[in-house]
């Protein structure tokens, strides 16, 4: 075969592998790239370039005999080169971190080996002489017919098993165990080593053993990590729940204390009003009633109102965040109004991201009004017509360079700050169904987060 013929054949087989890579990465990373036409064109061009490059490099390796170097050194170098290229491609297409892409590529490599394993069953013990037309045809049928079908079958099994979700949970861990990383990273080494050891056709049944052992080990890792993750989540939920309960009890005790105080004042006020009423002084009675209502609103009503609004928040993470922030604001003597007209059950946005965004907005609002006279923040959560709105509004005291808000390093709070709104915008950049709104309206700084739920 001429060099060009080898490159052409390689191009097709590499294209099949890359299609499998895209499909699997979509399942494992749980996202379909959709970042506009420019990104799509760049991705397609880079994919074509990479496919051509890998095909050419593979042809060179084949022709120069690099693959036949002792101890599979050439093959190993080629496999790692292939993996790094694939990781770079995923980085560009999915805009994910290099670490995540490397791990995904390694996982796809292992999963892909099952596809190869299945397709090799067809070839079991066969060697093709590509100079013979009939054997070449059979080889091409295996390469471009059986092999893609096996990949497809393999992929469908992974989809059915819901491996993507477990994988993402594993990937979301802050620190992945070093041993696991080494174990995954060295897969090409021991697969080649095993291939080297059992290259004897007599023992070639063992060749199928490695992917099966790997499957078992990966399954064990996932089960272990999954259980560990679930336990951590459970503990975290329990801790949040406990914290919420504590704050809730504190609030209730506070309301009770206020009620006791009010009851005392109320008795005195009623005694006074009784005398005024007996004397027929209606104006004084009216002003007594007014004072009493205002006192009640000030001492107890506001707290009760706040708790009533909080009762409409049914998402535990957000409720916890609000309780903590409200308690902190009360200590800082910042008045915070909360409005939740309709019950808020939950949202499509990831709870951790939503908590971070809402935390940033509330912290910024609190920083602006803290220590100022008549410090007020207004928070509204509105959930209706398939849309959820979070609106944080605070009085604006200082001057804000509105155009620079959200850009790196800009802050109104002194050195070393100003990363809040920047990371806020970065988080929102990951969601296509979230629409931010920022404005200065009638002396207030308003930040909104609109989430499309359906």
């Amino acid at each position: 075969m001429s060099f060009l013929q080898i490159v052409s054949a390689n191009f097709l087989s590499t294209a099949i592998s890359i299609l499998f890579l895209f499909w699997m990465s979509g399942i494992l990373l749980g996202r379909i790239p959709n970042r506009g036409i420019k990104h799509a064109i760049t991705s397609i061009l880079f994919t074509l370039f990479l496919t051509a490059l890998l095909s050419a490099v593979a042809a060179v390796c084949y022709r120069t005999g690099i693959w036949r170097l002792p101890y599979s050194i050439g093959k190993l170098a080629w496999r790692y080169f292939d993996l790094v290229c694939a990781a770079l491609l995923l980085c560009l297409v999915h805009r994910a971190s290099f670490r995540d892409c490397c791990l995904s590529v390694m996982m796809i490599e292992i999963l892909g080996s099952y596809g190869d394993l299945l397709s090799n069953l067809y070839l079991y013990g066969r060697l093709f002489d590509l100079r013979v037309v009939s054997e070449r045809r059979e080889y091409l049928f295996w390469m471009f017919g059986i092999r893609p079908l096996c990949f497809l079958l393999c992929g469908l099994v992974i989809v059915k098993l819901g491996l993507g979700k477990i994988y993402r949970q594993w990937l979301e861990q802050e620190k992945i165990h070093r041993g696991t990383l080494i174990f995954l990273g060295l897969y090409p080494v021991y697969s080649e080593a095993l291939d080297h050891v059992v290259n004897d056709p007599e023992k070639s049944r063992a060749y199928f053993l490695l992917p099966l052992v790997m499957l078992l080990v990966i399954h064990m890792i996932f089960v272990y990590v999954g259980r560990d993750w679930q336990q951590k989540q459970y503990i975290l939920a329990q801790q949040t729940n406990l914290r919420q309960q504590t704050i809730y009890i504190e609030k209730m005790e506070h309301i009770q204390a206020e009620l006791r105080r009010f009851r005392h004042d109320f008795k005195n006020m009623m005694a006074g009003m009784y005398l005024q009423a007996r004397e027929g002084d209606l104006d004084a009675v009216q002003s007594f009633i007014q004072e009493m209502t205002e006192d009640f609103d000030r001492q107890v009503g506001e707290q009760v109102r706040l708790m009533n609004q909080l009762a409409n928040v049914h998402m535990a993470e957000i409720k916890g965040l609000l309780l903590e922030k409200l308690a902190w604001m009360q200590k800082e003597e910042i008045h915070c109004d909360l409005e939740v007209l309709h019950p808020f059950e939950g949202t499509r946005m990831r709870s951790t991201d939503l908590c971070r965004c809402l935390g940033i907005l509330m912290d910024n609002a609190a920083d602006e009004v803290r220590g100022k006279e008549d410090a007020r923040i207004h928070l509204m959560i509105s959930s209706q017509n398939g849309c959820t709105t979070f609106r944080v509004k605070n009085t604006l005291y200082g001057k804000v360079d509105f155009q620079r808000l959200g850009t790196a390093g800009y802050t109104t709070k002194g050195e070393g700050r100003g990363i809040g709104l920047e990371s806020y915008r970065k988080i929102l950049g990951r969601y296509d169904f979230v629409f931010p709104f920022t404005a200065i309206q009638d002396g207030y700084f308003v930040q909104e987060l609109l989430i499309q739920e359906v």
Binding site: H39, M380, Q384, Q441
Partner: protein, 248 residues
């Protein structure tokens, strides 16, 4: 003459509102009239369907004996009268007014627990409405209407500095003097709609022409009057220079 509607389930309050409004309209010589005073939201909606025009609405929040509350009534009124003035009259001070204002563009809310305060609130609202109506009649301001999910905003066109496409599909960023928001749209359609006030200086930027303060030919950027910078494409260079020189 602007119609005034009252929807209140308590008869005594309804009568008090009506007589106070009539008195105020007469004393202040306002171009308004009481068109309907009812306890039934259905009657009000039926009346509006027959005579749709900009009106003033004094609405109770908690309407007993009806399938809809004040919020729902407000939503129905908005479908029939997008520019009307909604004022909520309530006995509860913990009314979620920001939510009412946000979704229904309600003008104000009045607490009816104390008659004196209620009367003062009504008078204040009438004054604000009269001022707003006369101001609106005098000005010829153009607005850009943008809908993000179920929220509609009207932004004065002169406040908008530029539009930019973000990295995501069909997502447009609107940069105004004191507002910034994202919405779904097409920069192509915006260009056609907002020409000639806005010019497409770059594939991703549609800028208000009279806001360009400086052209940085070296960096291939324009600086706007609020110091923001936007890139321009090579084929727009001459067009920008010509229009800039013409303006000066």
């Amino acid at each position: 003459m602007m119609p005034v509607y009252i929807c209140e389930d308590e008869e005594k309050i309804r009568d008090a509102e009506r007589s106070w409004l009539e008195k105020q309209i007469l004393i202040e010589g306002l171009d308004m009239e009481i068109a309907l005073c009812t306890g039934s939201p259905e009657e009000l909606l039926h009346h509006l369907s027959e005579e749709p025009r900009q009106g003033i609405y004094f609405l109770d929040v908690d309407l007993k004996g009806s399938f809809m509350d004040g919020f729902r009534l407000g939503q129905e009124i908005r479908k029939r009268d997008a520019r009307g003035f909604l004022i909520y009259v309530t006995a509860f001070q913990d009314l979620a007014f920001e939510t009412f204002r946000y979704h229904l563009e309600a003008l104000d809310y009045i607490c009816k627990k104390e008659p004196e305060k209620m009367y003062a609130g009504i008078s204040h609202c009438l004054k604000v409405i009269a001022e707003r109506v006369s101001r609106e009649q005098g000005e010829q301001q153009e607005y850009f209407t943008v809908k993000t999910l179920d929220i509609v905003r009207h932004i004065p066109l002169k406040e908008i500095m530029y539009f930019a496409t973000s990295g995501r599909t069909h997502r447009i960023e609107l940069h105004a003097r004191q507002e910034r928001l994202d919405f779904i749209g097409s920069i192509q359609e915006l260009e056609e709609k907002l020409a000639p006030q806005f010019i497409r200086i770059h594939r991703a930027y549609l800028v208000r022409e009279d806001q360009i303060a400086r052209i940085d030919l070296k960096a291939k950027e324009v600086e706007l009057k609020n110091k923001e910078r936007c890139p321009f494409s090579r084929n727009m260079r001459q067009r920008l220079l010509d229009s800039f020189q013409f303006r000066q």
